[in-house]
Symmetry: C2
Subunit: 137 residues, 2 copies
């Protein structure tokens, strides 16, 4: 059995999926609305994908970005595909706010203020889910 975290777990609360990839939402009290787009197959780098699959994955990332902007109204979106620990293609879609814990640093950088411990309320979580599903309809 593969030891890959993302081959064996959804990687968050499942919001949408097809045969190619899935969208999950993380429960991060510092980053409410933080979503990930995860390729279903175990592939390491974007350039390991065929061109049309790169475009297909990014189209999902940008649809999620659009839904997150619509519902969460962040000051900025951060996108990243890192995978140093889990080399299985996944994109972070992170709504950032001027008063969030690390702004203007990346969320992996030094914190600039105390945690607001601000989990996403159920109603907004449902709105976000509905909007992502609508975008990917």
């Amino acid at each position: 059995m593969s030891v890959c975290e993302l081959c064996n777990n959804p990687g968050g609360e499942l919001i949408w999926q097809d045969g190619f990839c899935r969208v999950v939402r993380l429960d991060d009290v510092d980053y409410p609305g933080f979503c990930r787009v995860i390729l279903n197959r175990h592939v390491k780098e974007m350039s390991d994908l065929e061109v049309h699959d790169r475009e297909r994955l990014m189209a999902v990332v940008f649809a999620v970005e659009q839904a997150v902007r619509e519902i969460m109204q962040p000051d900025k979106i951060n996108l990243a595909s890192l995978g140093n620990v889990t080399p299985h293609l996944h994109w972070h879609v992170i709504p950032r706010y001027k008063l969030d814990r690390h702004f203007p640093n990346p969320i992996w950088g030094s914190s600039t203020r105390e945690s607001l411990a601000n989990p996403l309320d159920k109603n907004t979580a449902q709105q976000l889910k509905t909007e992502i599903q609508r975008m990917l309809g």
Copy 2:
């Protein structure tokens, strides 16, 4: 005059450009081969671009990724579009190595070892430039 850093400066050593975007290489002694793909226009988010422009910009990002993999032979590629400080679309294409300063953390995270202070040698810099230019025709 705009105060945007990336409207007023190339943002690194210019390697390639067209009317839409440019590729620059950073002089980062911890991250030799670190490149950026910068949209020429001042646009904040990927989802502010038309779909064909998103695809056009990502095609350049992935071409640079491929060239960086070819020449730098990294253990992993990290891609990110953050822009919290400079909200002008730019993509980081970062070759990562298991023994680099922050691995497996993001380069913005805690360092895990001493700096190797390993600037890119002139020959490899030229190879990388040539390969990126070749990829982008």
